[in-house]
Symmetry: C2
Subunit: 152 residues, 2 copies
């Protein structure tokens, strides 16, 4: 399914559905975790797949452009992604103590954003909402100890 979408997207742009691009796509959709480009590259190499780092870095923006993946939690120094096809768009609650990422979706929230954009005559295409704080576990344990993700 995502193959079809990607293939058609590439065709429309006069680009080819090569095995390297197919491999990246496949890996991206192999599970539902968030990932960063290097993770992906290492994992593919580990499985004996044939790709270069350059191809990974070149393919991800294409997947982004055709809407198969979205970027998430860029408070780290490098980009993170997740595939979105087959899921819906969602936002993220991020625990600054343990690093846990909790997906959040609210129709009401989405609608409200849309209506606010309309008021500004702004045509909204995408958005990123990241809420940072303490997850229930870390909250009850108290906030002592070292943050896993300082500077947030």
């Amino acid at each position: 399914m995502e193959d079809k979408i990607f293939r058609e997207f590439l065709e429309k742009k006069g680009l080819k559905f090569t095995k390297e691009r197919a491999a990246v796509l496949k890996e991206v959709f192999s599970n539902h975790n968030h990932f960063d480009p290097d993770d992906l590259y290492v994992k593919m190499k580990g499985q004996g797949m044939k790709v270069s780092k350059a191809s990974v870095y070149r393919t991800l923006p294409l997947l982004l452009e055709c809407g198969l993946v979205e970027q998430v939690e860029r408070f780290d120094k490098h980009a993170h992604y997740e595939h979105t096809f087959g899921h819906g768009h969602h936002d993220h609650l991020i625990c600054i103590k343990c690093g846990k990422v909790i997906p959040l979706f609210s129709e009401k929230l989405e609608k409200l954003q849309e209506s606010l954009c309309k008021q500004e005559k702004f045509r909204c295409l995408t958005h990123i909402l990241e809420i940072k704080g303490y997850c229930s576990k870390c909250e009850e344990k108290g906030q002592g100890g070292k943050q896993k993700r300082p500077g947030v």
Copy 2:
């Protein structure tokens, strides 16, 4: 005012309110624009102020920690900030064609986020909401032409 806040914050941490830190603070509050660390450094140098890049990069996280500045629009490759003291928190609409950044604040939106967090038993501290699309001007001009900010 912001001097007082910063000074007390530093004191509480056993850090000193040095002239370098004071200079960065002053520059950050000299106007209401968004900025990035290098801009700030160059501007300070241009005015003959005495700072190093290292001090700028060291001071900004402190200002972040004490709530005098917030980070915004990290879709560029480097960090951007704005001072928030004396303003309220607000979110941003970002035009992917011309790069314009439109501040947005909605009490309703903030409250809704809070209540969603409560449902998840998540203690929310901060959040970043960035909505990307076309501003009214770019929308009416049509979307032809090259994006100023590709990859968004």
